[in-house]
């Protein structure tokens, strides 16, 4: 299971709206626990696939290294990644699968329709190596803090 705060959930979906009609991408920092990946912070990343950003994303390794250093300073690990599918299903594509190499990490995909985030799904990359890896549907637990809860009530 992926454990995500309501604010991070909202933020990664907003990122997809901000970059529409292009794909957004980012990194999820947190901790791996027996009950799943716990996200503590999300970091926006740039999409270097400017040639076809509407249906591709790539995070520069230099940026990943910077984010990994940031994680180490915070005592966190990279536990997953997120990206958006503008006007396309929130399901992993063959391209997503072929390019997924972080076994044990969560891959979150948000569908953005006409600039509005709709469905968000998570997929856990499992297996032992490139030959037997596979994506599993991963339940997502959105954790609402007491502060966020009060804010939500205020908006209601």
């Amino acid at each position: 299971m992926l454990h995500l705060s309501f604010s991070d959930y909202t933020a990664l979906r907003a990122h997809g709206e901000d970059t529409y009609p292009h794909e957004c991408c980012g990194v999820m920092l947190g901790k791996v626990a027996p009950d799943g990946n716990h996200v503590r912070e999300i970091v926006r990343a740039g999409n270097t696939r400017t040639d076809r950003a509407h249906d591709r994303y790539n995070i520069a390794p230099e940026e990943l290294i910077r984010i990994q250093r940031q994680a180490r300073k915070l005592g966190l690990d990279i536990v997953g990644f997120y990206h958006s599918h503008p006007d396309c299903p929130a399901q992993w594509s063959q391209t997503d699968f072929n390019e997924a190499h972080w076994i044990g990490c969560s891959y979150v995909i948000t569908r953005v329709d006409q600039g509005k985030a709709t469905i968000t799904n998570s997929f856990l990359l499992t297996g032992t190596d490139e030959d037997d890896k596979k994506f599993l549907d991963e339940p997502v637990e959105i954790e609402v803090s007491s502060v966020e809860n009060e804010q939500e009530k205020g908006h209601a």
């Binding site: 994303y57 290294i65 180490r72 006007d87 997503d96």
Partner: protein, 118 residues
């Protein structure tokens, strides 16, 4: 030198995030790493011994593929090597193409073909 291990490969280094290994060059350091943690080899290299295409190696802030000496680059005790698998993907979805070429969809429909679903 220190080698930083990415999350998915820590299962093969006993959970260690960072490993210290001896070696005068990047290649020697990597050799020492895979000698100490043999199960890592299959994840870093192909059966032919080539570094897997999605594995990036950075010596401090430099991609070793672009260093003049590549893996033969000399290293010092204070240097850090980072192993970082690539992150990429995308919807590979025809929605935008089809929207731009709506006439194509209409033509398909009139021929009794089922337009792409998405």
């Amino acid at each position: 030198m220190k080698i930083h291990i990415p999350t998915p490969l820590r299962a093969y280094t006993g959970g260690e995030q960072t490993v210290s290994v001896p070696g005068a060059t990047v290649a020697e350091a990597l050799q020492a790493l895979t000698a100490a943690y043999a199960d890592l080899r299959n994840h870093l290299y192909t059966g032919e011994g080539k570094l897997r295409s999605f594995v990036n190696l950075y010596l401090n802030d430099d991609d070793i593929r672009y260093l003049p000496q590549k893996e033969a680059t000399l290293v010092e005790e204070s240097d850090e090597l980072t192993i970082i698998p690539s992150i990429a993907g995308g919807s590979n979805c025809p929605a935008h193409t089809l929207r731009a070429g709506a006439i194509v969809q209409v033509q398909q429909a009139t021929k009794g073909q089922r337009p792409a679903l998405y």
